[in-house]
């Protein structure tokens, strides 16, 4: 895998839906909003000046409510939808300049996609579905069978390879979808609301599976979701979309503690902060410890696990360790404070807004 900082870079990407998008785009660039554009010119603004960097080997989650343009955005990455203006750089090449052949090569070898409604071929077996990418290149089933079976086993579908998709449950069908993406051996995986159609319990399983695979394979994953809990569970880089523009992007913990606008505040107000926040995000980096240390905790522990460890005693203080070195201290008192979004006295900006 290349050691580039950013696998995919999106620059000034616009998408206007309608009969004559070019002039409509000009209005948008001149500052017209989504509602006005629809009322006055009958064009729908899909994406508005998107600039996103997708780091290599990490999971980037693009989150937004329905209609925010997230599914449109992910389809620009493999040009299932053509943009009205902008650039999409993948491995240092602008894929919008690709011809048909180059584009097919990109889709066959560099990017694979997992769909919300699975989109398996109903007339092919699970094995043949998993081997879709090699079969498109012209490999026979005999050639790709081992590889496809390996990935089917890896996603937990051992011995199901001769079934047809309709004989499997939704969760199993999506496992086939993931195996299909993995069998293509592409560095980039696009996942369009991949788990949204599944039951909550199965969804949790699938999220764990994806995190496991990610720890093992370090693919560049672009994951679309409307579910903040899911986003925070998977994301190493979080992009929040609203009405076709990026409201905030960055490290998920940072967004959680410093929401940039009321829209995101609304989003983050409902989640279980103890489960999502990590010790490293709220610890004090001072080496001098006020008082006695109750023990050592890892910088990547969730607050939930620290609360369990402390047995609810708010008087304790823990030393925070990172790979064997002490990097800070965490007072249980500040932990409790961090659990309530409106009570962040150490963040004057948010204190002013919520006060």
């Amino acid at each position: 895998m290349t050691k580039q900082e950013n696998k995919i870079s999106i620059r000034h990407l616009y998408k206007v839906f309608g009969d004559d998008p070019e002039p409509a785009l000009q209005y948008v660039k001149d500052g017209m909003g989504k509602t006005e554009l629809l009322e006055e010119h009958n064009h729908v603004l899909g994406l508005n000046d998107i600039n996103v960097d997708v780091p290599a080997g990490k999971t980037t989650v693009i989150m937004g409510l329905s209609g925010s343009g997230k599914s449109t955005l992910i389809r620009h990455l493999n040009r299932l939808i053509e943009p009205t203006a902008g650039e999409v750089w993948v491995d240092g090449e602008n894929i919008l300049e690709y011809n048909d052949k180059q584009l097919r090569h990109l889709r066959q070898h560099k990017m694979s996609m997992v769909f919300q409604k699975f989109a398996l071929l109903p007339h092919r077996t699970v094995l043949q579905n998993a081997g879709l990418a090699p079969s498109i290149e012209g490999q026979s089933e005999r050639v790709y069978a081992d590889d496809a079976r390996k990935w089917l086993d890896r996603v937990g579908l051992h011995g199901q390879s001769e079934q047809y998709p309709h004989q499997l449950s939704g969760g199993m069908q999506q496992r086939v979808g993931i195996a299909r993406a993995l069998t293509s051996n592409s560095d980039i995986m696009l996942m369009d609301e991949a788990f949204s159609a599944l039951d909550p319990l199965i969804r949790t399983d699938m999220q764990d599976l994806l995190n496991e695979l990610q720890a093992e394979l370090q693919k560049t994953v672009v994951f679309i979701t409307h579910d903040l809990d899911e986003a925070l569970k998977l994301a190493e880089h979080l992009v929040i979309l609203k009405d076709g523009f990026v409201v905030q992007q960055g490290e998920p913990q940072h967004i959680l503690l410093n929401p940039a606008d009321p829209y995101i505040e609304d989003f983050v107000s409902d989640i279980n902060r103890a489960r999502v926040l990590r010790v490293r995000s709220i610890m004090a980096t001072t080496p001098d410890a006020p008082g006695e240390m109750a023990g050592e905790i890892d910088h990547d522990d969730t607050l939930e696990s620290v609360i369990a460890l402390s047995e609810g005693d708010t008087g304790r203080t823990y030393r925070v360790m990172k790979q064997g070195d002490a990097v800070g201290v965490l007072q249980m008192r500040s932990l409790v404070r961090a659990l309530v979004p409106s009570d962040k006295s150490d963040d004057p900006e948010s204190a002013r807004r919520s006060g």
Binding site: R104, Q108, M111, A119, L121, I136, P165, H166, R180
Partner: protein, 344 residues
């Protein structure tokens, strides 16, 4: 005088017309009666005739009568007939050969090979022993009442015509599904083929080809029966789940890979429903085609009508029903097998 004289008089066209009514003569009984009574026929306002060609002709001889229109059409067709024949004749010649060969083969093979062969085909297509039994029973019955040859002729014609319908209809349907413009052009044509009474397109075909040529009825059957397979191929491909097409695109399939590996397999249930309808319609047409020398059970039906042989008519009608049942059940069973393997 005629009702619409005033139009031509008013327009000052009296001279151009050269007097009214003389060419048409006396056309209505009322006028004749009036003539014999020695008085002008008085037409009340209630009886005002529609200003049709014939009525206007009464007022002005220069206006053609409607029979001149129809004879003009006929002459026009006869004028282009020879040129048309030069193009169409060689194109359709293979149809004659195919029909002749099929008719010959179906009759040359002895019954004790043919009936088991048909049973085997039924089994391969439908995988159902009860259907094979039905096939044996029906053909056994038809052979027992000495209609075996007629049945085989009808079957041969249907096989050839249905196969040609599929060979032509599926590509046309695919073209329609891929282009909205082709679809817009084809739909009125298909509507016309489906609603035009079959006798109507028999008439120009008779002018075009000699009645002894099998392609005459072959073309008539194909024109009539090809419509459902075209329509349902178009529909089937348009109904393929767009999510699956998107997945095929996302993994980099070419257009032809998409067509042959995704769209046609997923449209197959609909295409097969179209084939079933096509076979049924060619069976319906094969009776009418007997008017223009198609052999088979239809000939017997016609004999029943022409010489009022009730028994022959009924029995051959029953034969056609039995054939229809067999063909329908076998193709439907094949359809059910495809559906079962693709159930979602």
């Amino acid at each position: 005088m005629a009702t619409y004289d005033f139009i031509f008089n008013g327009l000052g066209l009296k001279d151009w017309c050269g007097g009214g009514g003389d060419g048409g003569g006396l056309t209505s009984m009322a006028q004749l009666l009036g003539e014999t009574a020695g008085e002008e026929a008085v037409v009340s306002a209630w009886d005002t005739p529609f200003p049709s060609l014939d009525t206007l002709h009464e007022a002005c001889a220069k206006v053609p009568q409607s029979r001149e229109l129809t004879s003009g059409l006929e002459e026009g067709f006869l004028a282009i007939k020879d040129t048309l024949k030069v193009i169409v004749d060689p194109l359709t010649q293979p149809l004659s050969w195919a029909l002749n060969d099929a008719l010959w083969v179906m009759q040359a093979v002895p019954w004790f090979i043919m009936i088991p062969l048909l049973m085997l085909i039924a089994y391969v297509v439908a995988r159902s022993m009860s259907l094979v039994g039905l096939v044996a029973l029906c053909f056994g019955f038809l052979a027992f009442v000495d209609y075996y040859d007629y049945t085989m002729q009808t079957l041969a014609i249907i096989f050839v015509c249905a196969i040609i319908c599929v060979l032509l209809g599926v590509p046309i349907g695919i073209a329609m599904s891929r282009s909205d413009r082709v679809q817009r052009v084809m739909i009125p044509i298909l509507d016309m083929l489906q609603t035009l009474p079959p006798f109507v397109y028999l008439i120009p075909l008779i002018f075009l080809f000699s009645v002894t040529e099998p392609k005459l009825y072959g073309i008539a059957i194909i024109l009539y029966a090809i419509v459902p397979v075209i329509r349902l191929t178009d529909l089937g491909i348009r109904l393929v789940d767009p999510d699956v097409i998107e997945a095929a695109d996302a993994f980099g399939m070419t257009k032809s890979q998409k067509l042959f590996n995704v769209q046609i397999p997923l449209a197959l249930p609909n295409i097969m429903a179209g084939v079933n309808q096509t076979i049924m319609m060619s069976l319906a047409m094969v009776v009418i085609a007997s008017l223009v020398s198609a052999p088979g059970l239809g000939v017997l039906v016609l004999r029943g009508i022409r010489s009022l042989e009730l028994g022959v008519g009924l029995l051959s009608g029953l034969g056609i029903v039995l054939l229809a049942i067999i063909l329908d059940r076998v193709t439907k069973a094949a359809l059910a097998r495809i559906n079962a393997s693709q159930a979602r």
